[in-house]
C-alpha cells in the first residue's frame, strides 16, 4: 500500500489536490513551473525529489537575479538622479523652483522671528543682570589660589648653572610684575590706610579707586635688586595671589596669611622661607573688589615666597595654604581652593 501512495499520481499534493474531483488530468498547480516541468513533476515520487532539476532551476534563478541586480542599480541611480534634478517637471529634490522659493521665504521669516525671540530673551536677561556685580558669587567662593611664575605646570625644574632652564620663569615674573611697577602704582592708585577695608560707598557705576601694591613691597623678590628673582642662585621667588572675587572680604581682624611647608616628606627640606611683605599676609585694604568695570586699576595683592635654602637635586613638594578666619583650604575635589601645591626641583 505504500507503493500505491508513491504511485505516479500520488505525489501531487498538496498542490491543487482539490481539482482532482473535477479534472483528473490536471497537473500540479505550481504556477512557477512551466508545462515541461509539470510533466516531470508528475513522474516525480514523493520521497525522492528530483534534485538535479531543482538545482537547475536555482541556477537559472540566480542568473536572472544577477542580471536584475545590475539593472536595479542602474535604475536606482536614475531615480536618484531624477530626484536631484528632474528636467521634465523642472524640479529639484521633488520641488519646483516656486516651491523652493516659498520654502526659503517661510523659513527666512520663521528663523528671523526666532532670532527676534532670542534677542528679546537675551535683552531681558541683560536687563536683570547688573554689569557691576555678579548676581551670585558663591560658586567662586571660597577663593582659589594661584602662583607665579606659571608655565602650564606646577613643577619647577631648573638647573642653576643653566640659565636656559630658568630664564622663562624670570621673563614670566617680569612680565607679570609690570603692572606693579612703583611708578605706575603711584600714578594710578592711591595709598590707602592699611589694616582696614577700603570701602568706597557711592553709586554702583562710579569708578572706584584702587589701593597701591608696589613692586617694591616684594623686596628681594621684586626683581629690582636681583633681576633673576633668585633663580640664578638657586633661591627661587614664587609669587602667590588669591583669586579675585567681587565683594569678597576676609574676616576682619587678622588678615589672611600665607604659610608654606613641605607637603610630603622631610619637613626640613625647605629649611627657610622669606615672605614679602614680611607679614606674609594680604592686607585688608585691598578688599573689597568692586569688579573690573569700575575697579579698573585694581591690583591683586601678592605674597612672595623666597625659598632661600631649599634642598637641592631632589623634588620637594611644597604646599602653600591661606590661613585665616573663614578661609577654607581643605576642599577635597578642588586642590586650588585656599591652597596650592607645587614641587621644587633645583639642580646645581
Amino acid at each position: 500500500m505504500r507503493r500505491q501512495l508513491r504511485s505516479r499520481r500520488a505525489p501531487a499534493f498538496p498542490y491543487g489536490y482539490r481539482y482532482r474531483l473535477d479534472d483528473q488530468d490536471e497537473v500540479n498547480q505550481n504556477y512557477l513551473a512551466d508545462e515541461e516541468e509539470e510533466a516531470e513533476e508528475e513522474a516525480r515520487v514523493m520521497v525522492v525529489p528530483d534534485l538535479e532539476e531543482e538545482e537547475e532551476e536555482k541556477r537559472e534563478e540566480e542568473e536572472s537575479q544577477a542580471q536584475e541586480t545590475g539593472s536595479a542599480w542602474w535604475r536606482k541611480w536614475q531615480i536618484v538622479n531624477e530626484y536631484l534634478w528632474d528636467p521634465e517637471k523642472r524640479m529639484s529634490l521633488a520641488r519646483t523652483g516656486q516651491s523652493w522659493s516659498l520654502i526659503l521665504v517661510i523659513y527666512f521669516f520663521f528663523y528671523a522671528s526666532l532670532a527676534a525671540v532670542i534677542t528679546l530673551c537675551m535683552y531681558t536677561l541683560f536687563l536683570t543682570i547688573s554689569p557691576y556685580m555678579p548676581t551670585f558669587t558663591e560658586k567662586v567662593k571660597p577663593p582659589g589660589v594661584m602662583i607665579r611664575p606659571f608655565a602650564h605646570s606646577l613643577n619647577f625644574n631648573f638647573n642653576v648653572s643653566e640659565p636656559d632652564t630658568w630664564q622663562h620663569y624670570v621673563i614670566s615674573l617680569n612680565g607679570f610684575l609690570q603692572g606693579y611697577n612703583d611708578s605706575l602704582q603711584e600714578e594710578m592708585n592711591v595709598d590707602c590706610p592699611p589694616g582696614q577695608y577700603f570701602i568706597q560707598d557711592g553709586d554702583e557705576d562710579e569708578d572706584k579707586k584702587a589701593c597701591q601694591f608696589k613692586r617694591s613691597f616684594l623686596k628681594n623678590c621684586s626683581g629690582l635688586e636681583d633681576p633673576t628673582f633668585g633663580y640664578s642662585t638657586g633661591q627661587p621667588c614664587i609669587l602667590l595671589k588669591m583669586n579675585r572675587i567681587v565683594g569678597f572680604r576676609p574676616e576682619p581682624g587678622d588678615p589672611v596669611k600665607v604659610s608654606c611647608k613641605v607637603q610630603r616628606g622631610d619637613e626640613n627640606d625647605i629649611r627657610s622661607i622669606n615672605y614679602y611683605p614680611e607679614s606674609a599676609s594680604f592686607d585688608l585694604r585691598y578688599y573689597p573688589y568692586y569688579g573690573k568695570l569700575t575697579h579698573v586699576n585694581y591690583t591683586s595683592p601678592l605674597v612672595a615666597m623666597h625659598f632661600t635654602d631649599v634642598v637641592k637635586n631632589q623634588a620637594v613638594p611644597v604646599q602653600c595654604q591661606l590661613k585665616g578666619k573663614g578661609i577654607i583650604n581643605d576642599v577635597i575635589n578642588d586642590r586650588f581652593v585656599g591652597r596650592v601645591i607645587f614641587t621644587l626641583n633645583i639642580e646645581t
Binding site: 505504500r2 500520488a10 489536490y17 482539490r18 551670585f136 567662586v140 567681587v246 586650588f336
Partner: protein, 929 residues
C-alpha cells in the same frame, strides 16, 4: 536584537568605543563618558531585546497551550494486544483502531470499515462528511476512499487501518511544510522603522560630515574632528526610542489580547491597521462551520428560520397543521443523537453523533419542539432505511404516539426531486391535496429558489399505513421493502446552510468603510460561496457579477463589458488558466471578489496577486489548507477555537473567540498605534536637535559644553521614556475607521514633514529655549555670553586656576567644572520643561489640543509628573553625586524655559489651525506629518 533600530544602536555603541580608543591613545586620562555611553547603548539593545522576547514568548506560550490541550491518544494493536499509546509514538505499519469521535492519529489505509465517515475539514476546509471504506476507488490518495488522513476526525462508524505515513510525511504535514517554505516577509511596521532608521542615519551622517569639514577648516586637529564626527553621529541616535516603540507595541498587543486578538510577533500589532485587503476563508471564519436550517417551505410559502448562533427566536408561523406533520418527520426521520451527559449544555453547543445535516435537523427540532429523544421514544421506530447515495433518501417507520391510532407512520426525507417522485399528494394547510401541475410547479420554484441561495435542500414526506393491512404485529423488512414506497404525501422542503456568523456582516461593513477590500477565498462551491458572500455583504446587495448582468440583459457572458461588473466570482478552474496579469486585472477592476473551489496553492497565488497591487494583505483561515496563505500574507489570522494547529502556527495573529469582528478591533488598534507611534517618534526626535545643537555650538562657537553625554542619557532614558510611552495611550483624533488604509509607499511612519517639523521647527525652538536657560545661569554666575565665546580652550585647561570671568573674578578649574555641571543641569531642565510642551502638542497632529481634551489621556499626566519628579530627584536628590554631573539648581531657573514652552505650544496650535483651515494647501502638505 538585530535589524533596524538595534543595528543603529549597535553602530552607535561601537562608534563610542572607537572614539574612546582614539581619545585614550592621545591622552591616557581622557574622560570615560563615551565608554559609558557605548555601554548604555548596548545595554538598551540587550534589555529591549529581552523584553520583546519575553513578550513574544508569552504569546507563544498561549499558543503552545492550545497544542497541549488534548494529548492525542491512539488505540493500536501491538503484540496482539490493544494498547493506547500517544499518537506521536506511532510508526508506519502499526494497526490502529478508529471509532466515531476519534481524531485520526496518522495517515492510515483502512483495512476494514463499518459505516465509517470522516470529516476532512481540517484538510480541505469543507465539513461535509465523507464515507470511508476499504475499497480502492481513485488513483489520487486524496480522493480514494480507503485512506484517512492525520488530524481529520471520524464522525461515525468504526474502522481499522494501517499507518502509512506519520508526522511531517503525512498529507497535513506536507501542507505544513509548504507553509514553512513560504518566506516570512518583513512586517509593514518593520519596513517603516527601517525607513526611519535610514532617515536618522542620513541626518546624522550628513550633519556629522558637514561639521567634520567645518572643524577641519577651523584648524582643529583631524583626530579631534573625528571624535566630534563620532560624537555628532552618536548624538543623533534616539537611545530611548527602541524601548519606547517596543513597550508601545506590547501595550497594544496586550490591549488586543484582552479583546481576544492574540498577536504573536510584536510588530504584527500594527499590520492589521495598514491592511488594505483581507482575504478571508469562508468556512469557520465567516460562517459558523455547522449546517443550520435556514429556510422552510410548506403550505406554498417560504419561511425563514433563525440562523443566528443560538437559534433563539424562531419567528415563522408554527400554527399550521402542515408544520405539525413536517416537524414530526424532521424529528423521527433522523438518526442523529445527542451525546449523553450534556444536560447543562445549551442545545446549540451540545455534541451530536451524526452527520452535519442530521445534526442541524436535530438541533432545529430540539429548539422548537423540546425533548426530541422523548418524542422519538413515544413514536417507537420499527424499521429504517438509512440514507445512501444510490437511494438518496432516508426512510423510517414508526408507531404513532396516539394510542388510539394503530396505524404505522412512514416518514421519508431525501433529495427533493427523489422525494417528490414518490409522492402523489401534497399537504396544504394540513389537508392532503392531489399533486397537480400547479403545485408541482410551485415546488420547483421553491426548490430552485432555495437552491439558488446556495443552500442544501431536503424534501420531506410521510405516509400513514392503513391499520388493516399493516397490523401492529406486522414485521417490516427493509431489504425486501415489504411496505409501500410510493404515493406518499409531500409535506415540505427544508433548506440548510452553514450560516454566516451573526457578527460578520457588521464587521464587513466596518471594514468596507475603513477602505479595506474583502475577498472571499474558499474551497466551497461557487454558488454557496456567492450566497454567503451576499449575505455577509462581501458582495453588496446591488452589485452584480458578469454572469448576473448577462442574465439580466439576456445576452451571452462574453458580450458583457467586464468593467460594468463590480463583483466577480472566480473559480479555481478559471484561476488555473489565468496568467498573473489576468489575475491582477481581476483584482484591480473588481471591488468585490469571491474565489471558489481554490486549492491551498491557489490561495497563495491570490495572496501574491494582492501583494503585487501594493496592498498589505491579511488572510484569515482556520484549516491546514489555509496555512501556506496565512504564512505568505502580511498578517495571517487564524481562528483560535476551530483553527488547526498548523493554521495557528503559521498565523501572526489568533482570534481567540473565532470572531471575525475582532479583526475590526485589530484594524482600529493597528491604525491607532501607527498614528501614536508617529507622535512618539516626533516627540523623541524633537529633543534630539536640542541635544545636538549644544555640541555643534560648542565646536563652532567655543562655548563651555552646555550639556554632557551622561545628562543627555538621563533625558533619553530617564525623563522622556514614560511620556513617550504615554503617547501610545492617546485616543484617535478622528474616526480612524472612516479613512482609507495607508498607502504602503506614500504614507510613511516617518515622513519628510515629520522629520523637518521636529528637527527644524520645534527642535530648534527647544534648543533656543534651553540655551536661554544656559546663558542665564552662566550670566548670573559671572560669565556673560560675550565672554563665553571661544572660551572653550581656556575653560577646559585643568591647570588654569585663575580664569577671569566678565566681572574680573578668577575661577579655579574645579569651580568652572562645577559651573559647567550646573549648566548641564540647567540645559537639562530647559529641555525637560519644553518637552512637556512638546508632549502636549504631540497629542494631536491636526486637531487643537482643546478638541482632543487635555485630560482625556490620564497617562500623559503621569508622564509629565514622572518627567518633573525624575528631574527634581536628579537635581536635588542626586545633585551631590559627582559622577552624575548634576547639581542643585536654583529654583528660579526651572521657570526660565516656561515662556518658550508656551511659545512652542502656541506655534503648534497655529500650525494645526492653518492645516484645518486650508486643507490641501501648501502648508497642509508640508506641515502635516
Amino acid at each position: 536584537m538585530v535589524g533596524g533600530f538595534s543595528i543603529l544602536l549597535w553602530i552607535g555603541a561601537v562608534l563610542c568605543w572607537i572614539a574612546y580608543g582614539i581619545q585614550y591613545s592621545n591622552d591616557k586620562s581622557s574622560s570615560l563618558d563615551s565608554v559609558y555611553l557605548g555601554s548604555v547603548l548596548a545595554l538598551v539593545v540587550v534589555l529591549t531585546g529581552v523584553f520583546a522576547y519575553y513578550q513574544e514568548a508569552k504569546s507563544t506560550n498561549i499558543m503552545a497551550s492550545f497544542r497541549q490541550m488534548i494529548p492525542q491518544q491512539a488505540l493500536v494493536i501491538r503484540d496482539s494486544e490493544k494498547k493506547t499509546v500517544p499518537a506521536d509514538q506511532l510508526v508506519v505499519g502499526d494497526i490502529v483502531e478508529i471509532k466515531a469521535g476519534d481524531q485520526i492519529p496518522a495517515d492510515i489505509r483502512l483495512l476494514s470499515a463499518q459505516g465509517c465517515k470522516v470529516d476532512n475539514s481540517s484538510l480541505t476546509g469543507e465539513s461535509e462528511p465523507q464515507p470511508r471504506s476499504c475499497e480502492f476507488t481513485h488513483d489520487n490518495a486524496l480522493e480514494t476512499k480507503n485512506i484517512s488522513f492525520f488530524s481529520t476526525t471520524c464522525l461515525e462508524g468504526t474502522a481499522t487501518g494501517m499507518v502509512i505515513n506519520t508526522g511531517d510525511r503525512t498529507v497535513i504535514g506536507q501542507i505544513a511544510s509548504l507553509a514553512s517554505g513560504v518566506q516570512n516577509s518583513k512586517t509593514p511596521i518593520g519596513i517603516e522603522i527601517e525607513h526611519f532608521v535610514h532617515i536618522v542615519a542620513g541626518v546624522a551622517v550628513s550633519i556629522g560630515i558637514l561639521f567634520f569639514i567645518i572643524t577641519v577648516s577651523m584648524k582643529y586637529y583631524v583626530l579631534d574632528s573625528i571624535i566630534f564626527l563620532i560624537g555628532i553621529i552618536v548624538a543623533n541616535v534616539p537611545e530611548g526610542l527602541l524601548a519606547t516603540v517596543t513597550v508601545a507595541l506590547s501595550l497594544t498587543a496586550k490591549r488586543m489580547a484582552k479583546k481576544n486578538c492574540l498577536v504573536k510577533g510584536l510588530e504584527a500589532v500594527e499590520t492589521l491597521g495598514s491592511t488594505s485587503i483581507i482575504c478571508s476563508d469562508k468556512t469557520g471564519t465567516l460562517t459558523q462551520n455547522r449546517m443550520t436550517v435556514a429556510h422552510l417551505w410548506f403550505d406554498n410559502q417560504v419561511f425563514v428560520a433563525d440562523t443566528s448562533e443560538d437559534h433563539s427566536n424562531q419567528v415563522f408561523d408554527q400554527s399550521s397543521a402542515t408544520w405539525a406533520s413536517l416537524s414530526k418527520i424532521i424529528t423521527l426521520c433522523n438518526r442523529a443523537e445527542f451525546r449523553p451527559g450534556q444536560e447543562s449544555v445549551p442545545i446549540m453547543k451540545k455534541a451530536v453523533v451524526g452527520d452535519a445535516s442530521e445534526t442541524a435537523l436535530l438541533k432545529f427540532s430540539e429548539v422548537i419542539l423540546g425533548n426530541v429523544m422523548e418524542i422519538r421514544k413515544r413514536n417507537r421506530k420499527v424499521a429504517e432505511i438509512p440514507f445512501n447515495s444510490t437511494n438518496k433518501f432516508q426512510l423510517s417507520i414508526h408507531e404513532t404516539d396516539d394510542p388510539s391510532d394503530k396505524r404505522f407512520l412512514v416518514v421519508m426525507k431525501g433529495a427533493p426531486e427523489r422525494v417528490l417522485e414518490k409522492c402523489s399528494t401534497i399537504m396544504v394547510n394540513g389537508q392532503e391535496q392531489p399533486l397537480d401541475r400547479s403545485t408541482a410547479k410551485a415546488f420547483h420554484t421553491a426548490y430552485m429558489e432555495l437552491g439558488g441561495l446556495g443552500e442544501r435542500v431536503l424534501g420531506f414526506c410521510h405516509l400513514y399505513l392503513p391499520a388493516d393491512e399493516f397490523p401492529a404485529t406486522y414485521s417490516f423488512d427493509v431489504d425486501t421493502m415489504n411496505f409501500p414506497t410510493s404515493n406518499f404525501c409531500f409535506v415540505g422542503l427544508l433548506s440548510m446552510i452553514d450560516p454566516p456568523r451573526s457578527t460578520v456582516p457588521d464587521a464587513v461593513t466596518k471594514c468596507r468603510s475603513a477602505g479595506i477590500k474583502i475577498i472571499m477565498v474558499t474551497g466551497d462551491h461557487p454558488i454557496t460561496a456567492k450566497a454567503i458572500a451576499k449575505s455577509v455583504g462581501i458582495i453588496s446587495a446591488n452589485s452584480e457579477t458578469v454572469e448576473d448582468i448577462a442574465k439580466r440583459l439576456n445576452v451571452a457572458v462574453a458580450q458583457v463589458n467586464k468593467r460594468d461588473a463590480t463583483a466577480a466570482v472566480v473559480t479555481g478552474m478559471e484561476l488555473k488558466d489565468m496568467s498573473p496579469a489576468q489575475l491582477d486585472e481581476i483584482l484591480a477592476n473588481h471591488s468585490e471578489i469571491v474565489f471558489a473551489r481554490t486549492s491551498p496553492q491557489q490561495k497563495l497565488i491570490i495572496v501574491e496577486g494582492c501583494q503585487r497591487q501594493d496592498a498589505i494583505v491579511a488572510v484569515t483561515g482556520d484549516g491546514v489548507n489555509d496555512s501556506p496563505a496565512l504564512k505568505k500574507a502580511d498578517i495571517g489570522i487564524a481562528m483560535g477555537i476551530t483553527g488547526s494547529d498548523a493554521a495557528k502556527s503559521a498565523a501572526d495573529m489568533v482570534l481567540l473567540d473565532d470572531n471575525f469582528a475582532s479583526i475590526v478591533t485589530g484594524v482600529e488598534e493597528g491604525r491607532l498605534i501607527f498614528d501614536n507611534l508617529k507622535k512618539t517618534i516626533a516627540y523623541t526626535l524633537t529633543k534630539n536637535i536640542a541635544e545636538l545643537c549644544p555640541f555643534l555650538i560648542y565646536i563652532i562657537a567655543g562655548l563651555p559644553l552646555p550639556i554632557g553625554t551622561i545628562t543627555i542619557l538621563f533625558i533619553d532614558l530617564g525623563t522622556d521614556i514614560i511620556p513617550s510611552i504615554a503617547l501610545a495611550y492617546e485616543k484617535a483624533e478622528s474616526d480612524i475607521m472612516n479613512r482609507k488604509p495607508r498607502h504602503k509607499r506614500k504614507d510613511r511612519l516617518v515622513n519628510e514633514p515629520l522629520a523637518v517639523y521636529s528637527y527644524l521647527h520645534i527642535g530648534l525652538m527647544q534648543a533656543l529655549g534651553a540655551f536661554v536657560v544656559y546663558f542665564t545661569v552662566y550670566a548670573q554666575e559671572g560669565f556673560r555670553p560675550s565672554t563665553l565665546l571661544n572660551l572653550r580652550v581656556e575653560w577646559e585647561k585643568g591647570y588654569v586656576n585663575d580664569l577671569e570671568d566678565s566681572y574680573g573674578q578668577e575661577w579655579t578649574s574645579y569651580q568652572r567644572k562645577y559651573l559647567e555641571w550646573t549648566g548641564y543641569t540647567a540645559f537639562f531642565v530647559g529641555i525637560m520643561i519644553q518637552q512637556i510642551a512638546d508632549l502636549i502638542i504631540r497629542k494631536t497632529r491636526r486637531n487643537s489640543i482643546f478638541q482632543q481634551g487635555l485630560f482625556r489621556n490620564k497617562v500623559i499626566w503621569v508622564g509629565i509628573a514622572s518627567q518633573v519628579i525624575i528631574a527634581l530627584i536628579l537635581s536635588y536628590g542626586l545633585g551631590s553625586i559627582v559622577a552624575l554631573n548634576f547639581t542643585m539648581l536654583r529654583p528660579q531657573y526651572w521657570f526660565v524655559a516656561v515662556p518658550h514652552a508656551v511659545l512652542i505650544w502656541v506655534y503648534d496650535e497655529m500650525r494645526k489651525l492653518a492645516i484645518r483651515l486650508y486643507p490641501g494647501s501648501w502648508w497642509d502638505k508640508n506641515m502635516y506629518y
